[in-house]
Symmetry: C2
Subunit: 150 residues, 2 copies
Amino acid sequence: MAIVDDMVCFSLYSASRATTRAYTELLAPWQLTYTQYLVLVALWSEGDKPVREIGEMLQLDSGTLSPLLRRLEQKDFIERQRDDQDSRVVNVRLTPAGVSLRKELAHIPAQIACGTGLSDMENAKELLASLHRITASMQQIPAPDQASGQ
Amino acid sequence: MAIVDDMVCFSLYSASRATTRAYTELLAPWQLTYTQYLVLVALWSEGDKPVREIGEMLQLDSGTLSPLLRRLEQKDFIERQRDDQDSRVVNVRLTPAGVSLRKELAHIPAQIACGTGLSDMENAKELLASLHRITASMQQIPAPDQASGQ
DNA sequence: CGCAATTCAATTGTGCGCAACTTAAATTAT
DNA sequence: ATAATTTAAGTTGCGCACAATTGAATTGCG
């Protein structure tokens, strides 16, 4: 059983890397990474957002997001501005170029859909459920405790 | 359908990161990363191997493996030696410390098993099949071609 | 009000993942 | 035999993931 679980983890890791590579190839003409694409998807679907909310959506901290957003800003797809009310907050806003990129990249989900090799929706639902269950329960594993050797 | 596939990819990415974090926590007392652990698992189960074969097993290239193996060597878990017959090849061998680490880390798969939240073996099998299918078909997505827009 | 605790973003540092390139050795072809 | 090709491992460079720290702003509590 334990061996199977190690296999599940490795398969997860392999599948995730294969997926990232696929997105990277599709996004290459725009010089975008998969994570940068995820941020753009979040902004397209949810509108402008502060850094903290983007981080909550994608489960990324400022150590990842700050330099990533700087690069998206350099490419002129987003702008960052300190909030007027609370100047700790930095609001992220799509530029016109960032907005119009949505149509340019509209072909990507369909190409990825082929890549999932998921024939029917029923399989996809089960897979999603399994992945969500794993994500949730992996987060339960506690930091190793000096006292409880085991 | 396309949106679901984007969701599958993101869920994959999230589950994979959650899993890596879980391993990282469990491996923290030994200062090992998940990828370093994978290399050790490969050596424990298959015996000594040249770098190229480790790379084939884990789908990692020398750009990742060379520095990783250097760090495992510095921790005295492995040794590297140029092959006598073919001096392009570098053979990786477990040290006594690397061998005995296997027992020390024997508790980890069981703890990860809890983390997968997979109740029965049947679910695990289906999940494995889905992940392998995704890995295989994602590798089919071709590099974007200048000529064929779309 | 005044100060401690909290929150938010950025920075620093480490290691992985991967593309591109280098170097050296072995293989193949001529 | 030697030139061309291929193979193996290493190096460089970039971006992400994440822990730890910093600094500034805000909130909360006495």
